[in-house]
């Protein structure tokens, strides 16, 4: 018997790509029984994207998919078929929560809106997450988190200048929204326990993500100021930026440094061996006044140092600094290692594969990766047998008819 926080909570999970699966991963990694319902006819796009085991594409070979779907069970059901929808409705009373992340019309077309499901399961909690929400003129806007990152302002505040935008990597807002939707969903479960009432959660990735640019918006409404890209300039720290160190094995290495006051600046200069310093740079104000020259100076004294050893020296002197880690460096990072961040799990088809762990640790009820992500339909027989008591012969027949896989 699991003593994890969500032991006994059951989720039927239609979500795909990132926001939904990363949300339900919090539940699965903490003991909920999350059944990922996937269509073999319309695969989760992440199953079709790298990285692949041995760089070899295959629906069960994507670590992109695997990362976001640990601890879940996989049920392959072709929901475009009426019999599949019947099976889903029979499973519904078993579930506490239904989650989905299609554009709003998909579930409507299946005749599976919240009202109809609630008629079967009165205290159901349902989370619908999409780009722009279930209502409004743009509700059916299809997209990915990279487009949402542009639409919600992140791209505009990323770059060396207005003319040189440099967007954040990937589907950035996909990694903002899940924390908001997970909070909403847990709170809804708690509310249901107190009151017996389920509810519908309409989650717009857009509306959650705008909280990560809240000061920019509050400023605009209050003052009309439109924030643009400011490179690495800060109004609080100087110097503040990334500076190139010595290359290592032919790879460029940079260090991020932020100096909060004059005593930290003096500490930095001491760590660098007290090189001659322009007198203007002795004070915060002086450094703010010519940041281009300051960056050039800091760049020149850092250039011959190693990013790792300089980090240790600067931190020992009380200066905020760390190497600008690339994705290879992260696997050698001793702080991530000490936290126990990386895990190797034995996936059914991929074999031992590298998974990211949790971003936090709990003292009493530690969660974690309960098992690797499911292969497509890996638990179809098990789930249908267990939840619906379906006999093997019926399962075989449904497979022949390609209702399930």
């Amino acid at each position: 018997m699991s003593h994890l926080p969500f032991a006994g909570i059951r989720i039927l999970d239609f979500t795909w790509y990132a926001v939904g699966p990363v949300t339900t991963k919090y539940f699965a990694d903490y003991g909920a029984d999350v059944v990922r319902i996937e269509s073999a006819a319309r695969l989760d796009g992440l199953r079709l994207a790298p990285p692949w085991k041995d760089a070899h594409p295959g629906v069960n070979n994507s670590q992109f998919f695997a990362s976001f779907n640990t601890s879940k069970r996989g049920l392959a059901l072709d929901m475009s078929k009426p019999r599949a929808r019947e099976i889903f409705l029979k499973m519904l009373p078993w579930a506490d929560v239904v989650t989905e992340s299609f554009t709003p019309k998909t579930l409507r077309n299946w005749g599976l809106d919240y009202a109809s499901m609630r008629a079967i399961k009165p205290d159901l909690i349902m989370l619908s997450t999409c780009m722009q929400g279930q209502t409004g003129p743009h509700r059916d806007y299809p997209g990915f988190g990279n487009l949402m990152a542009a639409l919600s302002g992140f791209y505009h505040i990323s770059g060396y200048s207005e003319a040189e935008p440099c967007p954040p990597y990937g589907a950035y807002t996909d990694f903002i929204a899940p924390r908001f939707s997970a909070c909403a969903l847990i709170a809804a479960l708690d509310y249901r326990r107190r009151t017996g009432k389920g509810q519908f959660i309409d989650m717009a990735q857009y509306e959650a993500s705008l909280h990560n640019v809240a000061p920019m918006l509050v400023d605009y409404f209050a003052s009309g100021r439109v924030l643009g890209p400011t490179g690495n300039r800060s109004e609080r720290y100087t110097p503040h930026g990334a500076y190139r160190c010595t290359d290592e094995d032919g790879h460029e290495r940079w260090i991020a440094i932020a100096v909060a006051d004059d005593s930290e600046w003096q500490a930095l200069i001491a760590v660098m061996g007290n090189p001659p310093v322009d007198a203007r740079f002795a004070t915060m104000l002086g450094r703010f006044h010519d940041q281009a020259a300051l960056d050039e100076f800091v760049g020149s004294i850092v250039r011959t140092r190693g990013a790792d050893e300089l980090t240790v020296a600067l931190q020992a002197a009380g200066v905020s600094a760390y190497p600008v880690q690339n994705c290879m460096d992260l696997h050698r990072d001793e702080n991530l290692e000490a936290f126990g961040f990386w895990h190797w799990l034995d996936h059914k088809e991929m074999g031992p594969s590298p998974y990211e762990g949790l971003e936090h640790r709990m003292s009493r009820t530690p969660g974690g990766l309960q098992r690797p992500a499911p292969a497509l339909g890996q638990h179809t027989d098990e789930v249908l047998g267990e939840i619906l008591g379906m006999a093997a012969a019926e399962i075989e027949e449904l497979k022949r008819e390609k209702v399930i896989y």
């Binding site: 790298p50 992109f64 487009l147 935008p165 909403a184 509050v218 909060a260 760390y322 000490a338 936090h360």
Partner: protein
């Protein structure tokens, strides 16, 4: 009206910018969040920009954004009486979140073990830059340093030029939101068995979790991704993701796979307007893209895609952001304008959903407009519960009402510099 979602829950928020969003999310869900500030004010009161460009403890727009809906008390933890008051508050609270250097609370006799003895129900979240075990457990980390530590910074910027952060620093917002999720996860069993616990949030790991599919690339494909300005190296190839338009930029991607229909739709639009070059207009679309394959493979294929990007770029230069956005919606293109604050404030969808919320700030005699509900919940609406507090605004209410101190005692504590 307060959200009833977390009705009756009380959080002590001792964080600075490293956790401001955690308490904000709890306040939005209806918890009573008490911001415990040192007598000189939380450091987030000093973060620019400032209202009317006038720096002042009540003027930070960062503070006004992320502390909205919380209450403020002042408390000097460096004094014995201050520590005693915190213990009294802990006895009456459900959550505590802080982002002090490791060991600081222990040095004051206020570590988790001590607080848990006073209140076994307490959920105590400690937000840290690098966790509590590694060689960097005592490291200082400004936001840019955490952004760098988790790999996100390396991927932003142009080749050969410095890696970048965003103008609104992001790393600590991820950590704050993670503290909120973890606290909620711990809350769920606590409401059944009455036992709290200690949580350590790791900001570096939170930033790693923004890297989408790149973390495992080096191990499975043998190399790591380099930053490349507006081009994406993700998922093979090197494709342009940001195009210039008449009055700004728009994000768009020419590719196959999920982007196949969108790519064809923009070519059709160019044809309609006579803006497609002959090779594209007459050739029946791009030869190299397929609905199933995301990217072309051969050098000749890539040449065709480069040429197509150039043609689309010329076309987009004749359009405004607004025109492009309208067509993206009508033609179901995978695209989006690089919206700025003014565009977002004016967005028809957000207006239709009554997203933005305006709150009265009585102390400043001003109204502030904030991002609204992070989710629309049918039974228990959430969202901003009021304006950010002035420094110590709720001292009387909390010390008098909650702890039952007399007016004289409050005056004395104030005179002694404890509150």
């Amino acid at each position: 009206m307060r959200s009833v979602l977390l009705d009756g829950m009380r959080m002590l928020d001792l964080t600075d910018e490293k956790g401001a969003l955690c308490g904000k999310m709890f306040a939005d869900m209806g918890a009573e969040v008490i911001k415990v500030e040192p007598p000189q004010g939380c450091s987030t009161r000093r973060i620019p920009p400032f209202l009317d460009d006038e720096p002042g403890l009540e003027h930070s727009l960062y503070f006004l954004a992320f502390q909205a809906g919380k209450r403020s008390i002042t408390l000097n933890l460096e004094s014995a009486e201050g520590r005693e008051l915190l213990k009294q508050l802990v006895k009456r609270s459900d959550f505590l979140v802080e982002a002090f250097p490791l060991g600081y609370l222990e040095s004051l006799g206020l570590g988790y073990d001590t607080l848990a003895e006073l209140n076994p129900r307490l959920i105590h979240a400690s937000i840290t830059p690098f966790g509590d075990k590694g060689p960097g457990k005592d490291y200082k980390a400004a936001d840019i340093v955490s952004w760098a530590s988790g790999g996100a910074m390396f991927l932003m910027g142009q080749e050969g030029r410095p890696p970048l952060q965003m103008s609104v620093p992001q790393a600590w917002l991820h950590a704050g939101a993670e503290a909120a999720v973890a606290s909620m996860i711990a809350h769920y069993p606590r409401q059944a068995d009455g036992l709290g616990q200690h949580i350590v949030v790791n900001a570096q790991a939170c930033v790693v979790w923004t890297l989408m599919n790149e973390q495992a690339m080096p191990l499975l494909h043998g190399d790591y991704l380099r930053r490349s300005g507006v081009f994406t190296g993700a998922i093979g190839g090197r494709r342009k993701t940001v195009y210039q338009c008449k009055d700004g930029h728009v994000s768009f991607l020419i590719a196959g796979g999920a982007y196949f229909n969108s790519t064809n739709a923009v070519i059709a639009w160019m044809k309609e307007e006579g803006a497609a070059p002959a090779w594209l207009a007459e050739g029946g679309g791009l030869k190299t893209l397929t609905p199933s394959g995301f990217m072309a493979a051969s050098a000749a294929d890539l040449k065709e895609l480069d040429d197509a990007e150039e043609a689309v770029q010329s076309f987009f230069l004749t359009k405004t952001k607004k025109e492009l956005w309208q067509n993206i919606l009508q033609r179901r293109l995978f695209g989006a304008p690089l919206a700025n604050a003014a565009d977002i404030a004016d967005d028809a969808q957000l207006k239709a959903r009554d997203y933005f919320v305006t709150v009265d700030h009585a102390g400043l005699g001003r109204k502030f407009t904030l991002p609204g509900a992070f989710a629309k919940m049918s039974e228990t609406p959430v969202g901003p519960q009021g304006a950010a507090p002035q420094l110590g605004q709720h001292n009387r209410e909390i010390y008098g009402g909650l702890l039952g101190l007399s007016k004289t005692e409050i005056v004395e504590l104030r005179a002694a510099g404890i509150i």
